[in-house]
């Protein structure tokens, strides 16, 4: 299974004593460079460094096609005040997960709400850290 990681998930998960479980759940994970730039704490950076070194985490090769989808999705969701604010890295994660047909690991309420209503993103598998653990019987 493949996963896309967002910043809030990484920041929370990197403090978890059983964080090694992530590599057991997913053989390949992707992160966008703009998400990586949001992560600054030594604990989270060290954790990501280890994931990169082991080869399980990769930087995502963002394309022009995805940038077009980003612009379209941004226009559809960011002007509505009833949806919690979404920043560029959040929308990028949605587009990546849809392109890869992967699981999106996120603790972001705005992302969760988009997946609840948006016709192109409704089928996306979106898990918080608690849901990830629950799905693996922990």
């Amino acid at each position: 299974m493949i996963a896309v990681l967002d910043a809030c998930f990484i920041i929370d998960w990197s403090s978890y004593r059983n964080k090694h479980l992530l590599e057991e759940f997913f053989k390949t994970m992707y992160i966008h460079e703009e998400v990586l730039r949001q992560v600054r704490s030594p604990v989270a950076i060290e954790y990501l460094g280890r994931l990169f070194t082991s080869g399980v985490l990769r930087l995502y090769p963002w394309s022009n096609t995805e940038e077009k989808e980003f612009n379209k999705l941004r226009d559809e969701v960011t002007r509505d005040p009833r949806i919690p604010s979404l920043e560029r890295p959040d929308i990028i994660c949605l587009v990546m997960a849809k392109t890869l047909d992967s699981v999106l690991l996120s603790e972001n309420l705005g992302i969760h709400r988009v997946v609840q209503f948006h016709p192109r993103y409704r089928g996306l598998r979106l898990w918080t850290s608690l849901e990830l653990l629950e799905k693996h019987g922990l």
Binding site: Q38, S41, A44, D80, P84, L109
Partner: protein
């Protein structure tokens, strides 16, 4: 072009937002929050009311990680 959001979802979100806000307000360490410098206090209160870590971090002038540590010290849970 906007995408239509069903009214039942909007009602559900409004109920959730209110419940999440109540939880964050109840759990928060208000003594800690009230002792903070103005921009930090404003960021923590914003997070309690809206639950958005990214914007709260911007208000505080902190990175997402740094604000997250502050949030934990203020005992404000992430509710989702």
């Amino acid at each position: 072009m906007e995408v239509e959001i069903p009214s039942r979802l909007l009602e559900k979100w409004a109920r959730e937002d209110e419940e999440f806000r109540r939880i964050r307000r109840r759990c928060a360490d208000w003594d800690f929050i009230n002792k903070q410098p103005p921009h930090i206090k404003a960021a923590l209160i914003y997070f309690i009311e809206r639950g958005d870590r990214y914007v709260a971090a911007q208000i505080a002038g902190l990175s997402l990680d740094e604000f997250n540590e502050l949030r934990k010290q203020a005992k404000i849970p992430v509710v989702i």
